[in-house]
Protein backbone atom coordinates (compact mmCIF):
# COMPACT_ATOMS: atom_id res chain seq x y z
CA UNK A 1 0.00 0.00 0.00
CA UNK A 2 1.53 3.31 -0.95
CA UNK A 3 1.53 6.32 1.33
CA UNK A 4 -1.14 8.14 -0.63
CA UNK A 5 -3.67 5.35 -0.28
CA UNK A 6 -2.77 5.14 3.39
CA UNK A 7 -3.39 8.85 3.87
CA UNK A 8 -6.73 8.54 2.09
CA UNK A 9 -7.73 5.62 4.31
CA UNK A 10 -6.84 7.56 7.47
CA UNK A 11 -8.78 10.59 6.23
CA UNK A 12 -11.84 8.50 5.41
CA UNK A 13 -11.70 6.83 8.79
CA UNK A 14 -11.53 10.18 10.50
CA UNK A 15 -14.50 11.47 8.50
CA UNK A 16 -16.53 8.38 9.35
CA UNK A 17 -15.71 8.70 13.02
CA UNK A 18 -16.65 12.39 12.91
CA UNK A 19 -20.00 11.61 11.31
CA UNK A 20 -20.69 8.88 13.85
CA UNK A 21 -19.91 11.18 16.78
CA UNK A 22 -22.08 13.92 15.26
CA UNK A 23 -24.98 11.51 14.84
CA UNK A 24 -24.68 10.07 18.36
CA UNK A 25 -24.42 13.47 20.03
CA UNK A 26 -27.36 14.75 17.97
CA UNK A 27 -29.54 11.81 18.97
CA UNK A 28 -28.47 12.17 22.60
CA UNK A 29 -29.23 15.91 22.75
CA UNK A 30 -32.53 15.75 20.85
CA UNK A 31 -33.56 12.57 22.65
CA UNK A 32 -32.83 14.24 25.98
CA UNK A 33 -34.84 17.33 25.05
CA UNK A 34 -37.75 15.22 23.78
CA UNK A 35 -37.68 13.11 26.95
CA UNK A 36 -37.69 16.26 29.08
CA UNK A 37 -40.66 17.59 27.09
CA UNK A 38 -42.69 14.39 27.13
CA UNK A 39 -42.13 13.63 30.81
CA UNK A 40 -43.00 17.15 31.99
CA UNK A 41 -46.12 17.20 34.17
CA UNK A 42 -48.15 19.40 31.80
CA UNK A 43 -47.18 17.58 28.61
CA UNK A 44 -50.50 15.80 28.10
CA UNK A 45 -52.37 19.07 28.18
CA UNK A 46 -49.84 20.85 25.98
CA UNK A 47 -50.03 17.98 23.51
CA UNK A 48 -53.82 18.20 23.34
CA UNK A 49 -53.86 21.96 22.98
CA UNK A 50 -50.94 22.38 20.56
CA UNK A 51 -50.28 19.05 18.84
CA UNK A 52 -53.70 17.53 18.27
CA UNK A 53 -53.39 15.40 15.09
CA UNK A 54 -57.16 15.48 14.56
CA UNK A 55 -57.41 19.26 14.77
CA UNK A 56 -54.36 19.51 12.52
CA UNK A 57 -55.71 17.38 9.71
CA UNK A 58 -59.15 18.99 9.99
CA UNK A 59 -57.86 22.49 9.26
CA UNK A 60 -54.71 21.88 7.20
CA UNK A 61 -56.43 21.85 3.76
CA UNK A 62 -58.17 25.16 4.48
CA UNK A 63 -54.97 26.79 5.69
CA UNK A 64 -53.07 25.45 2.70
CA UNK A 65 -55.62 26.91 0.32
CA UNK A 66 -55.52 30.25 2.13
CA UNK A 67 -51.72 30.24 2.01
CA UNK A 68 -51.86 30.88 -1.73
CA UNK A 69 -53.23 34.35 -0.96
CA UNK A 70 -50.26 34.97 1.36
CA UNK A 71 -47.84 33.97 -1.37
CA UNK A 72 -49.47 36.27 -3.92
CA UNK A 73 -49.45 39.20 -1.47
CA UNK A 74 -45.81 38.43 -0.65
CA UNK A 75 -44.76 38.42 -4.29
CA UNK A 76 -46.45 41.71 -5.17
CA UNK A 77 -45.16 43.44 -2.03
CA UNK A 78 -41.66 42.10 -2.66
CA UNK A 79 -41.49 43.75 -6.09
CA UNK A 80 -42.79 47.03 -4.65
CA UNK A 81 -40.22 46.88 -1.85
CA UNK A 82 -37.33 46.30 -4.28
CA UNK A 83 -38.31 49.30 -6.38
CA UNK A 84 -39.13 51.61 -3.47
CA UNK A 85 -35.96 50.67 -1.58
CA UNK A 86 -33.76 51.36 -4.59
CA UNK A 87 -35.35 54.75 -5.26
CA UNK A 88 -34.93 55.79 -1.63
CA UNK A 89 -31.32 54.55 -1.49
CA UNK A 90 -30.44 56.46 -4.67
CA UNK A 91 -32.15 59.59 -3.36
CA UNK A 92 -30.20 59.30 -0.15
CA UNK A 93 -26.82 58.85 -1.81
CA UNK A 94 -27.46 61.54 -4.47
CA UNK A 95 -24.66 64.09 -4.65
CA UNK A 96 -26.30 66.84 -6.74
CA UNK A 97 -27.13 69.87 -4.51
CA UNK A 98 -30.49 70.32 -6.27
CA UNK A 99 -31.58 66.94 -4.96
CA UNK A 100 -31.00 67.92 -1.32
CA UNK A 101 -34.74 68.08 -0.38
CA UNK A 102 -35.17 64.59 -1.80
CA UNK A 103 -32.27 63.42 0.33
CA UNK A 104 -33.85 64.87 3.49
CA UNK A 105 -37.15 63.22 2.57
CA UNK A 106 -35.42 59.87 2.11
CA UNK A 107 -33.68 60.17 5.48
CA UNK A 108 -36.92 61.05 7.27
CA UNK A 109 -38.71 58.17 5.54
CA UNK A 110 -36.16 55.52 6.52
CA UNK A 111 -35.91 56.83 10.08
CA UNK A 112 -39.65 56.89 10.65
CA UNK A 113 -40.77 53.75 8.85
CA UNK A 114 -37.92 51.64 10.17
CA UNK A 115 -38.53 52.90 13.68
CA UNK A 116 -42.28 52.30 13.85
CA UNK A 117 -43.45 48.77 14.70
CA UNK A 118 -44.84 47.17 11.53
CA UNK A 119 -48.07 46.18 13.26
CA UNK A 120 -48.74 49.82 14.22
CA UNK A 121 -48.10 50.90 10.64
CA UNK A 122 -50.60 48.32 9.40
CA UNK A 123 -53.22 49.60 11.86
CA UNK A 124 -52.52 53.22 10.96
CA UNK A 125 -52.76 52.70 7.22
CA UNK A 126 -55.38 49.94 7.29
CA UNK A 127 -57.90 51.82 9.42
CA UNK A 128 -56.61 55.39 9.11
CA UNK A 129 -56.66 55.83 5.32
CA UNK A 130 -60.29 54.68 4.87
CA UNK A 131 -61.32 56.88 7.80
CA UNK A 132 -60.22 59.93 5.79
CA UNK A 133 -63.26 59.16 3.61
CA UNK A 134 -61.55 60.53 0.49
CA UNK A 135 -62.87 59.38 -2.87
CA UNK A 136 -60.64 57.03 -4.81
CA UNK A 137 -58.52 55.78 -1.93
CA UNK A 138 -58.46 52.01 -1.44
CA UNK A 139 -60.42 50.49 1.45
CA UNK A 140 -59.47 46.86 0.86
CA UNK A 141 -57.49 45.28 3.69
CA UNK A 142 -55.25 43.43 1.26
CA UNK A 143 -54.27 46.58 -0.62
CA UNK A 144 -53.81 48.74 2.48
CA UNK A 145 -51.97 46.01 4.35
CA UNK A 146 -49.74 45.48 1.32
CA UNK A 147 -48.96 49.20 1.17
CA UNK A 148 -48.08 49.25 4.87
CA UNK A 149 -45.77 46.24 4.50
CA UNK A 150 -44.12 47.75 1.41
CA UNK A 151 -43.50 51.04 3.24
CA UNK A 152 -42.06 49.28 6.26
CA UNK A 153 -39.80 46.88 4.37
CA UNK A 154 -38.91 49.53 1.78
CA UNK A 155 -37.15 51.44 4.55
CA UNK A 156 -35.10 48.41 5.60
CA UNK A 157 -34.23 47.51 2.04
CA UNK A 158 -33.24 51.10 1.21
CA UNK A 159 -30.60 50.87 3.94
CA UNK A 160 -29.37 47.55 2.56
CA UNK A 161 -29.02 49.06 -0.92
CA UNK A 162 -27.27 52.10 0.54
CA UNK A 163 -24.75 49.90 2.31
CA UNK A 164 -24.12 48.18 -1.02
CA UNK A 165 -23.67 51.47 -2.85
CA UNK A 166 -21.25 52.74 -0.23
CA UNK A 167 -19.24 49.56 -0.34
CA UNK A 168 -18.25 50.14 -3.96
CA UNK A 169 -14.83 51.80 -4.02
CA UNK A 170 -14.99 55.44 -5.29
CA UNK A 171 -12.28 54.45 -7.75
CA UNK A 172 -14.87 52.49 -9.70
CA UNK A 173 -16.93 55.60 -10.34
CA UNK A 174 -13.85 57.70 -11.10
CA UNK A 175 -12.57 55.09 -13.54
CA UNK A 176 -15.95 55.01 -15.29
CA UNK A 177 -16.01 58.81 -15.56
CA UNK A 178 -12.45 58.86 -16.89
CA UNK A 179 -13.34 56.56 -19.79
CA UNK A 180 -16.07 59.00 -20.80
CA UNK A 181 -19.23 57.69 -19.08
CA UNK A 182 -21.59 60.30 -17.66
CA UNK A 183 -22.42 60.32 -13.95
CA UNK A 184 -25.70 58.52 -14.64
CA UNK A 185 -24.10 55.93 -16.89
CA UNK A 186 -21.41 55.26 -14.32
CA UNK A 187 -24.06 54.69 -11.68
CA UNK A 188 -26.20 52.49 -13.88
CA UNK A 189 -23.56 50.37 -15.59
CA UNK A 190 -20.70 50.28 -13.10
CA UNK A 191 -21.69 51.06 -9.51
CA UNK A 192 -25.25 49.69 -9.23
CA UNK A 193 -24.63 46.23 -10.72
CA UNK A 194 -21.75 45.64 -8.33
CA UNK A 195 -23.64 47.05 -5.36
CA UNK A 196 -26.77 44.99 -5.93
CA UNK A 197 -24.79 41.79 -6.39
CA UNK A 198 -22.98 42.42 -3.13
CA UNK A 199 -26.17 42.92 -1.07
CA UNK A 200 -28.06 39.92 -2.49
CA UNK A 201 -27.84 37.85 0.70
CA UNK A 202 -28.99 40.61 3.10
CA UNK A 203 -31.83 41.44 0.68
CA UNK A 204 -32.95 37.83 0.73
CA UNK A 205 -32.74 37.92 4.50
CA UNK A 206 -35.25 40.79 4.57
CA UNK A 207 -37.55 38.88 2.26
CA UNK A 208 -37.61 35.90 4.56
CA UNK A 209 -38.77 38.30 7.26
CA UNK A 210 -41.34 39.89 4.92
CA UNK A 211 -42.71 36.50 3.92
CA UNK A 212 -43.81 35.72 7.46
CA UNK A 213 -44.86 39.27 8.28
CA UNK A 214 -47.56 38.99 5.61
CA UNK A 215 -49.49 37.25 8.40
CA UNK A 216 -49.68 40.63 10.19
CA UNK A 217 -52.22 41.97 7.72
CA UNK A 218 -54.67 39.45 9.17
CA UNK A 219 -55.48 42.16 11.74
CA UNK A 220 -57.22 44.09 8.96
CA UNK A 221 -59.78 41.30 8.71
CA UNK A 222 -58.48 40.04 5.36
CA UNK A 223 -60.75 37.12 4.53
CA UNK A 224 -59.02 33.91 3.50
CA UNK A 225 -55.53 34.78 4.72
CA UNK A 226 -53.72 31.68 6.05
CA UNK A 227 -52.90 32.91 9.54
CA UNK A 228 -56.39 34.35 10.01
CA UNK A 229 -58.01 31.10 8.90
CA UNK A 230 -55.89 29.27 11.48
CA UNK A 231 -56.65 31.84 14.19
CA UNK A 232 -60.38 31.62 13.62
CA UNK A 233 -60.28 27.85 14.04
CA UNK A 234 -58.00 28.10 17.08
CA UNK A 235 -60.23 30.59 18.88
CA UNK A 236 -63.50 28.91 18.12
CA UNK A 237 -62.29 25.52 19.38
CA UNK A 238 -59.90 26.71 22.10
CA UNK A 239 -57.08 24.72 20.50
CA UNK A 240 -53.81 26.20 19.24
CA UNK A 241 -53.02 23.37 16.80
CA UNK A 242 -54.29 25.20 13.66
CA UNK A 243 -51.65 27.90 14.25
CA UNK A 244 -49.00 25.18 13.92
CA UNK A 245 -50.48 24.23 10.56
CA UNK A 246 -49.92 27.82 9.42
CA UNK A 247 -46.43 27.92 10.95
CA UNK A 248 -45.50 24.78 9.05
CA UNK A 249 -46.45 26.42 5.75
CA UNK A 250 -44.41 29.52 6.50
CA UNK A 251 -41.45 27.25 7.27
CA UNK A 252 -41.92 25.49 3.94
CA UNK A 253 -41.07 28.79 2.27
CA UNK A 254 -38.57 30.30 4.68
CA UNK A 255 -36.34 27.25 5.20
CA UNK A 256 -35.65 26.63 1.48
CA UNK A 257 -35.02 30.38 1.12
CA UNK A 258 -32.59 30.26 4.03
CA UNK A 259 -30.73 27.27 2.54
CA UNK A 260 -30.60 29.06 -0.80
CA UNK A 261 -29.18 32.07 1.03
CA UNK A 262 -26.46 29.90 2.62
CA UNK A 263 -25.59 28.47 -0.76
CA UNK A 264 -25.50 31.90 -2.35
CA UNK A 265 -23.45 33.41 0.42
CA UNK A 266 -20.93 30.57 0.68
CA UNK A 267 -18.48 31.57 -2.11
CA UNK A 268 -18.46 35.14 -0.81
CA UNK A 269 -17.41 33.89 2.58
CA UNK A 270 -14.74 31.64 1.11
CA UNK A 271 -13.26 34.53 -0.82
CA UNK A 272 -13.27 36.88 2.19
Amino acid sequence: MDRRAEREAVRRGRARRGAAIAAISTIAVLGGLTALLVTSPGWDEVQQRFFDPEAFSAIFPDVLEAFWLDIRIFMVVEVAVLVLGLIVALARTAKAPALFPLKILAIVYTDVFRGVPTILLIYLIGFGIPALALEGLPTSGIVLGGIALALSYGAYVAEVYRAGLRSIHPGQREAALSVGLTENQALRHVVLPQAVRRVGPPLLNDFIALQKDVALISILGVAGEAFRVAQIEAQSNFNYTPLLAAALLYLCITIPLARFLDWWDAPERARG
Partner: protein, 290 residues
Protein backbone atom coordinates in the same frame (compact mmCIF):
# COMPACT_ATOMS: atom_id res chain seq x y z
CA UNK B 1 -21.92 19.37 2.08
CA UNK B 2 -21.43 17.52 5.42
CA UNK B 3 -23.25 20.44 7.02
CA UNK B 4 -26.23 19.94 4.74
CA UNK B 5 -26.37 16.25 5.54
CA UNK B 6 -26.17 16.99 9.25
CA UNK B 7 -28.98 19.51 8.88
CA UNK B 8 -31.07 16.94 7.07
CA UNK B 9 -30.47 14.36 9.81
CA UNK B 10 -31.38 16.93 12.46
CA UNK B 11 -34.61 17.76 10.64
CA UNK B 12 -35.49 14.13 10.25
CA UNK B 13 -34.94 13.40 13.93
CA UNK B 14 -36.88 16.47 14.97
CA UNK B 15 -39.79 15.55 12.70
CA UNK B 16 -39.86 11.95 13.93
CA UNK B 17 -39.76 13.24 17.49
CA UNK B 18 -42.69 15.57 16.89
CA UNK B 19 -44.72 12.92 15.12
CA UNK B 20 -44.04 10.39 17.88
CA UNK B 21 -44.98 12.97 20.50
CA UNK B 22 -48.06 14.06 18.58
CA UNK B 23 -49.35 10.55 18.05
CA UNK B 24 -48.35 9.33 21.52
CA UNK B 25 -50.65 8.17 24.26
CA UNK B 26 -54.12 9.47 23.53
CA UNK B 27 -55.79 8.53 26.76
CA UNK B 28 -59.21 10.12 26.95
CA UNK B 29 -59.76 12.11 30.06
CA UNK B 30 -62.98 11.18 31.73
CA UNK B 31 -65.67 13.83 31.49
CA UNK B 32 -66.36 15.05 34.98
CA UNK B 33 -68.47 18.11 34.33
CA UNK B 34 -71.83 16.34 34.16
CA UNK B 35 -72.43 15.91 37.86
CA UNK B 36 -73.16 19.55 38.60
CA UNK B 37 -76.78 18.77 39.33
CA UNK B 38 -75.74 16.96 42.50
CA UNK B 39 -74.20 20.04 44.05
CA UNK B 40 -76.49 22.48 45.78
CA UNK B 41 -75.45 26.03 46.41
CA UNK B 42 -75.87 25.41 50.15
CA UNK B 43 -72.87 23.07 49.98
CA UNK B 44 -70.72 25.90 48.66
CA UNK B 45 -69.46 28.30 51.30
CA UNK B 46 -66.68 30.83 51.21
CA UNK B 47 -64.70 28.86 53.83
CA UNK B 48 -64.98 25.47 52.13
CA UNK B 49 -64.18 26.57 48.56
CA UNK B 50 -60.67 26.02 47.26
CA UNK B 51 -60.31 29.43 45.65
CA UNK B 52 -57.18 30.75 43.95
CA UNK B 53 -56.53 32.93 46.97
CA UNK B 54 -57.96 31.79 50.24
CA UNK B 55 -60.90 33.84 51.46
CA UNK B 56 -61.16 35.82 48.22
CA UNK B 57 -62.99 35.19 44.99
CA UNK B 58 -60.76 36.17 42.06
CA UNK B 59 -62.75 36.96 38.91
CA UNK B 60 -61.29 37.75 35.50
CA UNK B 61 -62.40 39.68 32.43
CA UNK B 62 -60.73 41.36 29.47
CA UNK B 63 -59.45 44.95 29.37
CA UNK B 64 -61.10 47.02 27.94
CA UNK B 65 -64.43 45.64 29.15
CA UNK B 66 -67.33 47.01 27.14
CA UNK B 67 -70.89 48.08 27.93
CA UNK B 68 -73.51 46.83 28.45
CA UNK B 69 -71.56 43.99 30.08
CA UNK B 70 -69.35 46.36 32.07
CA UNK B 71 -69.59 50.10 32.61
CA UNK B 72 -66.72 52.63 32.50
CA UNK B 73 -64.24 49.78 31.89
CA UNK B 74 -64.37 49.15 35.64
CA UNK B 75 -65.56 45.65 36.59
CA UNK B 76 -65.32 46.47 40.30
CA UNK B 77 -68.27 48.91 40.27
CA UNK B 78 -70.90 46.18 40.00
CA UNK B 79 -72.45 47.96 37.02
CA UNK B 80 -73.07 46.32 33.69
CA UNK B 81 -74.63 42.89 33.16
CA UNK B 82 -71.60 40.64 33.67
CA UNK B 83 -70.21 42.64 36.57
CA UNK B 84 -73.59 42.42 38.28
CA UNK B 85 -73.85 38.67 37.57
CA UNK B 86 -70.32 38.13 38.91
CA UNK B 87 -71.14 39.89 42.19
CA UNK B 88 -74.41 37.97 42.44
CA UNK B 89 -72.50 34.68 42.04
CA UNK B 90 -70.02 35.84 44.70
CA UNK B 91 -72.92 36.63 47.01
CA UNK B 92 -74.50 33.19 46.44
CA UNK B 93 -71.18 31.58 47.35
CA UNK B 94 -70.90 33.66 50.51
CA UNK B 95 -68.29 36.20 49.48
CA UNK B 96 -68.82 39.82 50.49
CA UNK B 97 -68.26 42.50 47.85
CA UNK B 98 -64.96 43.39 49.51
CA UNK B 99 -63.75 39.80 49.12
CA UNK B 100 -63.99 39.91 45.33
CA UNK B 101 -60.78 40.69 43.39
CA UNK B 102 -60.77 41.38 39.64
CA UNK B 103 -57.89 40.49 37.31
CA UNK B 104 -57.38 41.02 33.58
CA UNK B 105 -57.52 37.98 31.32
CA UNK B 106 -57.32 38.58 27.54
CA UNK B 107 -59.68 36.29 25.65
CA UNK B 108 -56.74 34.80 23.72
CA UNK B 109 -55.10 33.62 26.89
CA UNK B 110 -58.23 32.31 28.59
CA UNK B 111 -57.89 28.92 26.92
CA UNK B 112 -54.12 28.49 27.27
CA UNK B 113 -53.12 25.20 28.91
CA UNK B 114 -51.96 25.25 32.50
CA UNK B 115 -53.11 26.70 35.80
CA UNK B 116 -55.24 29.84 35.78
CA UNK B 117 -54.60 32.73 38.12
CA UNK B 118 -58.24 33.35 38.94
CA UNK B 119 -61.32 31.42 39.96
CA UNK B 120 -63.52 32.18 36.96
CA UNK B 121 -63.63 34.41 33.88
CA UNK B 122 -66.72 36.27 32.61
CA UNK B 123 -66.12 37.74 29.15
CA UNK B 124 -69.14 36.89 26.95
CA UNK B 125 -67.58 33.51 26.28
CA UNK B 126 -69.87 31.17 24.36
CA UNK B 127 -70.16 27.59 25.50
CA UNK B 128 -69.44 24.92 22.86
CA UNK B 129 -68.58 21.23 23.18
CA UNK B 130 -65.22 21.70 21.47
CA UNK B 131 -64.23 24.47 23.84
CA UNK B 132 -65.34 22.40 26.82
CA UNK B 133 -62.53 19.96 25.99
CA UNK B 134 -60.02 22.66 26.93
CA UNK B 135 -61.73 24.43 29.83
CA UNK B 136 -64.67 24.07 32.21
CA UNK B 137 -67.84 26.08 31.71
CA UNK B 138 -70.44 26.94 34.33
CA UNK B 139 -74.14 26.77 33.63
CA UNK B 140 -75.04 29.50 31.14
CA UNK B 141 -76.04 32.88 32.57
CA UNK B 142 -77.25 34.47 29.33
CA UNK B 143 -78.48 33.43 25.93
CA UNK B 144 -77.45 35.98 23.33
CA UNK B 145 -79.11 36.40 19.97
CA UNK B 146 -77.12 37.75 17.04
CA UNK B 147 -77.81 41.14 15.47
CA UNK B 148 -77.06 42.56 12.03
CA UNK B 149 -75.91 46.19 12.21
CA UNK B 150 -75.49 48.41 9.14
CA UNK B 151 -75.01 52.10 8.37
CA UNK B 152 -78.41 53.75 7.96
CA UNK B 153 -77.74 54.83 4.36
CA UNK B 154 -76.39 51.45 3.16
CA UNK B 155 -78.54 49.00 1.19
CA UNK B 156 -78.01 46.34 3.88
CA UNK B 157 -79.95 48.53 6.32
CA UNK B 158 -83.15 47.88 4.36
CA UNK B 159 -82.81 44.09 4.52
CA UNK B 160 -86.02 42.43 5.66
CA UNK B 161 -84.73 38.87 5.58
CA UNK B 162 -81.39 37.20 6.21
CA UNK B 163 -81.15 36.36 2.50
CA UNK B 164 -81.05 40.12 1.77
CA UNK B 165 -77.92 40.39 3.89
CA UNK B 166 -76.08 37.54 2.16
CA UNK B 167 -74.68 39.74 -0.60
CA UNK B 168 -73.23 42.31 1.81
CA UNK B 169 -69.60 42.43 2.93
CA UNK B 170 -69.89 41.35 6.54
CA UNK B 171 -67.48 42.04 9.39
CA UNK B 172 -67.30 40.03 12.63
CA UNK B 173 -65.00 39.66 15.61
CA UNK B 174 -62.75 36.61 15.92
CA UNK B 175 -63.50 34.07 18.64
CA UNK B 176 -67.18 34.99 18.83
CA UNK B 177 -70.03 32.74 17.79
CA UNK B 178 -71.18 35.62 15.60
CA UNK B 179 -68.78 34.25 13.01
CA UNK B 180 -70.36 30.80 13.25
CA UNK B 181 -73.76 32.40 12.92
CA UNK B 182 -72.68 34.30 9.80
CA UNK B 183 -71.20 31.21 8.15
CA UNK B 184 -74.00 28.79 8.91
CA UNK B 185 -77.11 31.00 9.03
CA UNK B 186 -76.45 33.93 6.66
CA UNK B 187 -73.99 32.11 4.38
CA UNK B 188 -72.67 35.28 2.71
CA UNK B 189 -71.53 35.16 -0.92
CA UNK B 190 -68.16 36.71 0.06
CA UNK B 191 -66.24 35.37 3.07
CA UNK B 192 -66.78 37.44 6.20
CA UNK B 193 -63.96 39.75 7.22
CA UNK B 194 -62.77 38.70 10.65
CA UNK B 195 -61.23 41.30 12.97
CA UNK B 196 -59.25 40.92 16.21
CA UNK B 197 -61.23 43.18 18.50
CA UNK B 198 -64.69 44.68 18.66
CA UNK B 199 -63.08 48.11 18.21
CA UNK B 200 -61.65 46.99 14.86
CA UNK B 201 -65.10 45.75 13.82
CA UNK B 202 -66.49 49.17 14.74
CA UNK B 203 -63.75 50.97 12.73
CA UNK B 204 -64.43 48.82 9.69
CA UNK B 205 -68.14 49.63 9.85
CA UNK B 206 -67.51 53.35 10.33
CA UNK B 207 -64.99 53.43 7.46
CA UNK B 208 -67.43 51.57 5.20
CA UNK B 209 -64.84 48.81 4.75
CA UNK B 210 -67.74 46.45 5.41
CA UNK B 211 -71.45 46.89 4.65
CA UNK B 212 -72.71 45.29 7.82
CA UNK B 213 -71.41 43.69 11.00
CA UNK B 214 -72.82 40.87 13.10
CA UNK B 215 -72.48 41.08 16.89
CA UNK B 216 -74.51 39.82 19.84
CA UNK B 217 -77.66 41.85 20.44
CA UNK B 218 -76.62 43.69 23.65
CA UNK B 219 -73.37 44.76 21.97
CA UNK B 220 -75.40 45.91 18.95
CA UNK B 221 -77.39 48.28 21.15
CA UNK B 222 -74.24 49.81 22.62
CA UNK B 223 -72.66 49.99 19.17
CA UNK B 224 -75.56 51.87 17.58
CA UNK B 225 -76.31 54.05 20.61
CA UNK B 226 -72.76 55.16 21.43
CA UNK B 227 -70.02 54.00 19.09
CA UNK B 228 -71.49 54.46 15.60
CA UNK B 229 -74.61 56.57 15.87
CA UNK B 230 -75.02 56.63 12.07
CA UNK B 231 -75.61 52.85 12.18
CA UNK B 232 -78.77 50.97 13.05
CA UNK B 233 -79.80 47.46 14.05
CA UNK B 234 -81.26 45.74 10.99
CA UNK B 235 -82.61 42.84 12.98
CA UNK B 236 -81.78 39.88 15.16
CA UNK B 237 -81.56 36.13 14.61
CA UNK B 238 -80.60 33.03 16.57
CA UNK B 239 -77.14 31.54 16.10
CA UNK B 240 -76.74 27.85 15.24
CA UNK B 241 -75.63 26.59 18.63
CA UNK B 242 -77.90 28.71 20.82
CA UNK B 243 -75.29 31.22 21.86
CA UNK B 244 -75.03 30.75 25.61
CA UNK B 245 -72.51 32.66 27.70
CA UNK B 246 -70.95 30.80 30.63
CA UNK B 247 -68.24 31.49 33.17
CA UNK B 248 -64.91 29.96 32.12
CA UNK B 249 -62.92 27.97 34.67
CA UNK B 250 -59.73 25.95 34.60
CA UNK B 251 -60.31 22.43 33.27
CA UNK B 252 -61.54 20.20 36.12
CA UNK B 253 -61.63 23.14 38.52
CA UNK B 254 -63.02 22.23 41.97
CA UNK B 255 -65.18 25.35 41.74
CA UNK B 256 -67.11 24.58 38.54
CA UNK B 257 -70.00 22.80 40.27
CA UNK B 258 -70.40 25.54 42.85
CA UNK B 259 -70.33 28.38 40.29
CA UNK B 260 -72.92 26.48 38.25
CA UNK B 261 -75.03 25.88 41.35
CA UNK B 262 -74.87 29.60 42.17
CA UNK B 263 -76.01 30.54 38.65
CA UNK B 264 -78.79 27.93 38.73
CA UNK B 265 -79.97 29.28 42.06
CA UNK B 266 -79.90 32.86 40.72
CA UNK B 267 -82.00 31.73 37.77
CA UNK B 268 -84.54 29.90 39.95
CA UNK B 269 -84.92 32.80 42.34
CA UNK B 270 -85.53 35.17 39.43
CA UNK B 271 -82.56 37.34 40.37
CA UNK B 272 -80.76 36.56 37.12
CA UNK B 273 -83.79 37.73 35.13
CA UNK B 274 -83.86 40.93 37.18
CA UNK B 275 -80.21 41.65 36.44
CA UNK B 276 -80.84 40.97 32.77
CA UNK B 277 -83.86 43.25 32.83
CA UNK B 278 -81.81 46.01 34.44
CA UNK B 279 -78.88 45.96 32.03
CA UNK B 280 -80.06 44.29 28.83
CA UNK B 281 -83.74 45.16 28.65
CA UNK B 282 -83.44 46.83 25.25
CA UNK B 283 -81.99 43.65 23.77
CA UNK B 284 -85.39 42.05 23.27
CA UNK B 285 -86.72 44.94 21.20
CA UNK B 286 -84.89 44.37 17.91
CA UNK B 287 -86.97 43.08 14.96
CA UNK B 288 -86.49 39.42 14.14
CA UNK B 289 -84.92 38.38 10.80
CA UNK B 290 -85.96 35.09 9.28
Amino acid sequence: MPFNRLFFVLCLIATLGLVAAGCGDDEESADSSDDSANVSVEDCTADSLETFEEGTLTIATDDPAFPPYFEDNDPTNGEGFESAVAYAIADELGFAEADVTWVVEPFNRSYAPGAKEYDFDVNQISITDKRAEAVDFSSPYYEAKQAVVALKDSPAADAATLANVADADIGVQIGTTSLDAVDTVIQPSADAQVFDTSNDVVSALKNEQVDAVVVDVPTAFFLTAVQVTEAEIVGQFAGPEGDEFGALLEKDSPLTDCVSAAIDSLRESGELAEIEEQWLSEATDAPILE
